[in-house]
Symmetry: C3
Subunit: 332 residues, 3 copies
């Protein structure tokens, strides 16, 4: 049987079909309100969450599923990730039992586990997520992992499609992923994912970033990367601002923030270079650091629509797993 996990674009069988399913859910969120009746979604947070927590709950409830939430750190629940350890220190439970036990109570498990930004190899091997998948006995969906945030990217694609349709673009749309300043080091999960999904649409993708902030070439292969932000913005239809820390491992700078790069902020002057582009960001966003008030407060900002579409991206993913796992019509 096909692997029913959802952790990256690779788990999407047919993007165009999924976009249609999501658009139908947006039009009628309760069209399948009993589809997941008697089924339980467990949400396991190793890291904080607002949008993902609420939108995924909402998606599950729209399908009639029950939701149970576990906050790993708040509950002081320390999980051993290594095999063969003599567990006489702090870890109370091995990932093998943790994943196995939650699988007894949940039909689908969502897991959020951020990058450490300290160990590039472990991050890019998705150590925690992969261990969890290995030991879980039910499908696992990523609520943002070390290297990817596919529920966000799917919502971003839905937003781009929606506004392409609304603005009757006749040309191929140009999407710019623009690196942004930020006071704290952030993972590369959102931009990695965004690149991965947009590459698989008919949009033209350009990445604008300072030198040294190129993303993992495995993701960006074939994508245009420019270091001149103004040049990138020219004739763009969508500007997606996002900070990420360095991917480079030269001089041990993996996971480090940029210095003296405040001028990479997205402001009105830069937006004027675009083709009246929509402004996108996954949120939360640092105002007047990542983006100027004048841009995020403008008519062209679609950040709340992106947040809204998180419901339908999650609902589509859950629907797909339920459909494949339990067949249709559902037993209840």
């Amino acid at each position: 049987m096909k692997n029913l996990n959802f952790t990256s674009f690779a788990d999407v069988p047919d993007l165009q079909e999924w976009i249609k399913i999501a658009q139908n859910f947006k039009e009628n969120p309760l069209s399948h309100e009993s589809f997941g009746k008697g089924k339980t979604l467990g949400l396991l947070f190793f890291n904080p969450s607002l949008r993902t927590r609420l939108s995924t709950q909402k998606a599950a409830m729209n399908l009639g599923m029950n939701v149970m939430i576990m906050n790993v750190q708040q509950d002081g629940w320390t999980i051993e990730m290594e095999d063969g350890t003599v567990m006489n220190q702090n870890s109370q439970e091995h990932i093998k039992e943790a994943a196995g036990v939650i699988s007894q109570y949940c039909d689908i498990i969502g897991v959020r586990t951020f990058a450490s930004l300290a160990d590039k190899k472990a991050d890019y091997e998705e150590k925690v997520l992969q261990k969890f998948i290995k030991y879980a006995l039910v499908p696992v969906i990523s609520l943002e992992s070390a290297t990817a945030h596919p529920l966000q990217s799917f919502a971003d694609i839905l937003t781009i499609e929606e506004f392409k349709a609304k603005t009757n673009l006749t040309k191929k749309s140009k999407v710019v992923l623009s690196w942004s300043p930020h006071p704290k080091a952030l993972p590369q999960a959102v931009p990695n994912s965004f690149v991965n999904w947009v590459k698989n649409t008919d949009s033209e993708l350009v990445i604008a970033c300072p030198k040294g902030f190129e993303l993992n070439p495995e993701y960006t292969k074939g994508v245009s990367i420019v270091h001149n932000q103004e040049e990138a913005f020219k004739d763009a239809d969508f500007i997606y601002a996002k900070n990420w820390s360095s991917f480079s491992d030269e001089n041990e700078i993996y996971g480090k923030i940029g210095q003296n790069l405040e001028h990479w902020i997205v402001d009105e002057a830069k937006m004027k270079l675009t083709n009246n582009a929509k402004f996108m960001h996954c949120l939360p966003v640092r105002r007047n650091v990542v983006v100027a008030d004048e841009v995020i407060d403008s008519q062209n900002s679609v950040v709340l629509e992106q947040a809204h579409n998180r419901v339908y991206s999650a609902q589509t993913v859950l629907f797909n797993i339920l459909e494949q796992k339990f067949g249709y019509p559902m037993p209840y």
Copy 2:
């Protein structure tokens, strides 16, 4: 369209009608068990909560609504309240996005945000609540704000009406709000609200408090204020004990506790001065500080009934918003 927020007595169109609706819900809590089907209530706590959390959840579930809860502080989610800030410090998200995003997932949002007791002007301007209302895209209900706790006061009114009926009072009932000692400084929200609601009933209201603990005159205008507790208790039908910190801004004492005022405790001797009065408190209560065991443990204590009525005050408020927002019969 009429503003559908619920943050104070001013948002009650017709108190007598609401009392009837609430009494009906008390008699038959599930009379409208599908009224809110497919609708979601979000509860956002900037401060801790037990009664409000449980009773409002229960009220929503009685109407068939889904409930999602966010604990702002526990999740380490720091929100920027000022406009125009360069957000390069601790705040991760601006109230504008926070309120906007939650509005994407919830049909009604409840917000708890206590007084700072450090900045009287900001507290009485209801800075946080008003910002939230400004940026929310759906109706907002107060789960206790800096200056008011209307869900509590509505439940208090229900309790007074209930016991007035049970005891067949033939005279106009006398309600005494009695300031109480407390080891920690507490906001004025509960007493402000209580005064505001009781003023609008046919009861006689008297406030008993030490000199210097007069509440905001905007609330107490026209209400009898006495500094002799024994005098106030004479012939009272309801004694409502509650501590609050100083409202006065002389010598910068706003938000300060009282000193050497332990004798303001409500004890049996004082209760004997009343007309066999019911004892009320919003809870939680410090026993033998605010009230003597002998009083709160007596037959005349109705504190649990007040807590119980919180369900029906919240259910009435939610019902009213759903009815006005989505019409009747409901779409689902």
Copy 3:
């Protein structure tokens, strides 16, 4: 009317009947999916919980109940347990109001309150649980108390019955409760309960523990206790590993861990002495301290099945209370 609390084996009217009910729920979890409609289960955690939290929620949802969860410590809610105290210190609310108020919102309340391991008398008097029961106005179920964990033990019994049937044991089954090493002092609740329940089945029960780690004789009266682990394991059909701290009060060692007892680990060599025994543990478990990887990873390990059966033990208990309290058919 019969006391409807569930805090120990003494609250089970007929174990064989309950086993049948639980087995039916395991076969068809949603057979009574509307039985608890409109009823609310409150779960009150004075201590952390994963399995109990999830499995009890799931059980309630299988019966159509609503669930509300309160984390006492996370919410910084400090409860006064003593009567007559002048509450001018840290405690914000008396257990009397806490239990009384939650009873206004919940039809059944689950309480988790661990042993202090500092005050043997208070622990074995079940001070917190009994206070809660005293002041609650609705049935209370133990989610693990100072001296017992009956929901776990019931699930353990279900697991033993299940595997006895599967393995077609013709002889009386031999169950060994084997003390295990552990780096932290743990309560005696799980082993106390296990002994209490297994004693009331037709299995032969043997307790293996180091000298000084004998459990409370009130529980173990009539049960064989041996200090030679290898001897105990001979011909055993079920090995239940569990650490517990000292019950002895000699030299004030109540609640202390064992020293230099690492060799009490359950390993493959010891399991070879058994009659191909199933390995049991309530989880969470410290691998390679309590049990060697080779044992818990073997085909004979039934720890996940124990966790799974927690749903049906809780569902049976909730069903029984609902049935007795509200009659059948249910009002809704």
